[in-house]
Symmetry: C2
Subunit: 518 residues, 2 copies
């Protein structure tokens, strides 16, 4: 009921956005969940898929994964796995039985149900940059993250319709004490966005607090909260071959309450993983499936996905590289195996570049288009990431959103439809060899929506562009980011829910927040 009230008070859903477009800093695409119509690119043949699958199963059964969490070890022992200290070996039959319990695609519904996202199948959703410790912009350069900057990125996250999920902290606000950081950050996210939010699995208090805050912000009963996915966590293994205590703890807490868990190993080939890409992928899959098996044992049918973060290091310096050819192939191979296991897949939009320049864009294009060609469902860091994840940049955020919108448009059937109207034989006959198509009826009826309309690209010729100042992309993006902040309107929120949320935050702060001794 509160939720319904909340909806009515909002300024309008899809239609509202379109109506208001003229008043906004930019004219952007309406909200939609993109559906990828293409057959994925598959570098592996059936034997290749089996080779990686067998490698993955042998890692799990012969080498085993360290579960640095006694509860997890107890449960897996009870499930029949071979547990030696923290080492857990699982045989293929058990792993595959558990994997088959996973539901495949699932839907997460945030406080505004119009912002629900489906994760899996042909769907593809984009998540803001998450977790950089630093920010960078054209004016202020690189500096540690703070809450004011966090707030800027939350506004960008809410503003862009092509960002579907408010994932991790877009920048780490280190000016807020870690004991209460999650309270301030999630309150800000839950109020200033109406999109799906995420809990870091960094200790039970944080995870429980975020679940409770999400519940309160949506005005849900405990039963309603647990009845379907309302938020999610993403956990990373400690490659090679380890899951740590808080990540497993958070994952188990969410799974028990029916909330989704994405398991994303970070296997840099040549460092925490074999130097060979399929080996790095097999290791990543073993780590991911080990956690999936645990969660499906605890709560059969709980929503899960697996992530890939397999890239390579620069063998000269050891620095991580992103958006490389090897990264692209690893993402595609993981996509093939994710489909083999029937699990939704997470990928990323990443680069090693330090500033939003040409390198940033070719690396990010490589990573985003490989997410497309791999059939990825959930794309982290889709906007705003620089320096291998050490920097969040508002200019990069704006520039990446142009690419994301182009991907959304690329998916639309209009770009490759072949009805009689599309083939346009009559228009071709009418215009003949002497005319042009600008003025013909066929064009006039369609021109307004025929093509992708950019907001950051400048398509004017050089002279017109120079006469207007000759502004390079990064500077245009800087201006757009400022205009968007100036233009920002928070989404509507039910006042009772907001009050309940803030009351909870105040109480938890009074109690001292979360312990910081982890």
């Amino acid at each position: 009921m509160n939720e319904q009230t909340g909806r009515r008070r909002r300024a309008g859903g899809r239609a509202g956005h379109q109506t208001r477009a003229g008043h906004h800093a930019i004219d952007q695409m309406p909200w939609r969940i993109p559906v990828n119509p293409d057959r994925p690119t598959e570098p592996l043949d059936a034997d290749g898929v089996q080779a990686i699958h067998r490698g993955t199963m042998r890692i799990l059964s012969e080498i085993g994964i360290e579960f640095l969490n006694p509860e997890a070890c107890d449960l897996l022992r009870q499930a029949g796995c071979k547990v030696t200290g923290t080492n857990v070996r699982m045989d293929e039959d058990f792993v595959m039985e558990m994997v088959r319990r996973a539901p495949g695609p699932f839907t997460i519904t945030p406080r505004n149900p119009d912002r629900a996202v489906t994760v899996g199948g042909k769907h593809m959703v984009f998540v803001n940059v998450s977790s950089p410790p630093n920010a960078w912009d054209m004016e202020r350069g690189k500096r540690p993250g703070d809450f004011a900057t966090f707030q800027e990125f939350i506004k960008l996250t809410q503003y862009f319709n092509c960002i579907h999920v408010a994932g991790g902290y877009p920048v780490e606000p280190i000016d807020i004490h870690p004991s209460i950081r999650h309270l301030d950050c999630l309150a800000e996210k839950l109020i200033m966005t109406d999109k799906v939010v995420h809990a870091y699995s960094l200790g039970k208090e944080r995870v429980e607090d975020v679940m409770e805050m999400t519940r309160l912000a949506a005005g849900l009963s405990h039963e309603e909260f647990e009845a379907e996915p309302r938020m999610y966590t993403n956990i990373n293994s400690v490659s090679p071959l380890k899951h740590d205590f808080p990540m497993l703890d958070g994952a188990m807490r969410l799974a028990r309450r029916g909330q989704p868990v994405i398991v994303t190993p970070f296997t840099l080939a040549g460092a925490m993983a074999p130097v060979t890409m399929s080996g790095a992928v097999a290791l990543s899959l073993a780590e991911a499936l080990a956690a999936v098996a645990l969660l499906q044992y605890i709560k059969p049918g709980c929503p899960v996905g697996i992530g890939t973060f397999t890239s390579n290091v620069d063998m000269k310096s050891g620095a991580p590289a992103f958006g490389t050819p090897e990264y692209m192939r690893a993402t595609q191979m993981t996509g093939q195996l994710a489909r083999y296991y029937g699990l939704p897949m997470r990928a990323s939009g990443v680069c090693a570049a330090n500033v939003p320049d040409g390198q940033a864009m070719w690396e990010t294009s490589n990573s985003l288009w490989s997410a497309v060609s791999s059939g990825a469902n959930f794309v982290y860091h889709a906007a705003g990431w620089l320096e291998g994840g050490l920097i969040a940049s508002p200019e990069k955020f704006v520039m990446d959103c142009e690419i994301l919108q182009m991907i959304q448009r690329y998916f639309e059937e209009q770009t490759f439809a072949t009805t009689e109207d599309d083939i346009a034989l009559d228009a071709i006959r009418e215009v003949g060899s002497q005319g042009h198509f600008f003025g013909c009826q066929h064009t006039q009826e369609r021109y307004a929506t025929a093509f992708y309309q950019p907001f950051a690209s400048d398509w004017r010729n050089y002279e017109a562009w120079m006469a207007d100042g000759g502004v390079w992309t990064q500077e245009r993006a800087h201006r757009l980011y400022k205009a968007i902040l100036a233009d920002f309107e928070p989404p509507a929120m039910d006042e009772d829910n907001k009050a309940a949320l803030m009351e909870f935050v105040a109480r938890r702060k009074e109690e001292g927040g979360a312990p910081t001794d982890f």
Copy 2:
């Protein structure tokens, strides 16, 4: 014989390049012709392919194409086509019979046979930027093309192993009179590169001169020259629905001597073509197949390919847009139809951006990756293009070559191989959960060639990058371009062939070159 001598005098082929790499301005990939192992992305189902094919055939049979060349009209009348003035209508049976005569893949062998390129099948070759009237660089800004700048781009074209073909003029040298421009430009290309060259179809004298120069530079007899492809031309139709006199004339001259012709309509949806993408593709295919049919009638089995240059205009300004979602789909659809007709396909690396910034890189990445996903065989403007083809930029050239090298690496099986060595179970077992892979034998044996090594990307962290000046990509590319020019060594050339070439140029200049009244 001369050719053999020429080969021996060269500083070395593939091995030579690798040996000399340390002395060069950059450490680049060796010369190779990339082979695309992926199944193309196919937005059209079988019905969609048929819909475009039917549309194409109906344009040809019901509406017809204008052939502004009496000889072509006479020939096509003789072939049984319906010729009314300059309008030629061809029925499907005739067109398909002619298309089936085309040989599919063909190989072009330049004066250095090690630089032969195969066009068609799974092969993909990259061509330098061609035909911009202007140049732009970080130092000098935008200015009309001149011969000194032309020479710089020819050096870049020869220097980069990932540029396989020295296509059209990388910039138009307007300081050379049009009557002799082709003589100076081709002499420069044939001496300073040993790669495949191209003749503009701009009047019979130019075409005949370039064929003769190519023959002389390689020291071939007339019989040897005509026995196999040695150079090529690319012709553009005048969309909608027209082929002009000089383009057809040049194409027919090359076809008769067994030299390849690529037919590339330039159909901007909403301007010279329907606003709907599949309609623009059908029009483009009709124009291309009309010329292919003419050439196969004249010289059955002559090597031909079809190009796509279908993009959209900005419906607000009429300005052409490049690397858009619509452009990508048009390229992929054309790829599907090119395979349906069994013809090699040309695509491009293009952008609307005016400077080598973020927009330039996302648009170029979109166009180059759509060339990959469409299965294109011959990629024009693969390095150096800006402002919708009005500018050639050396910085952009260098930046694009980084993307081209990444595409080449992406094609290599090493990035997705799944042998037992690749899955690396023993290495994973050896390293276990406590170690790292840097030091293990499996890594040590492979690290030197395991990953793509960039030359323009900077993978250092922000602090190291800043300590070294904080140089953005375009500025790094500027420095690289200067270093490459400083480092440039011309390829070896047989002195007799060079003398014969220069003698021909001198004689033709004395004769006044080509008429300029076209």
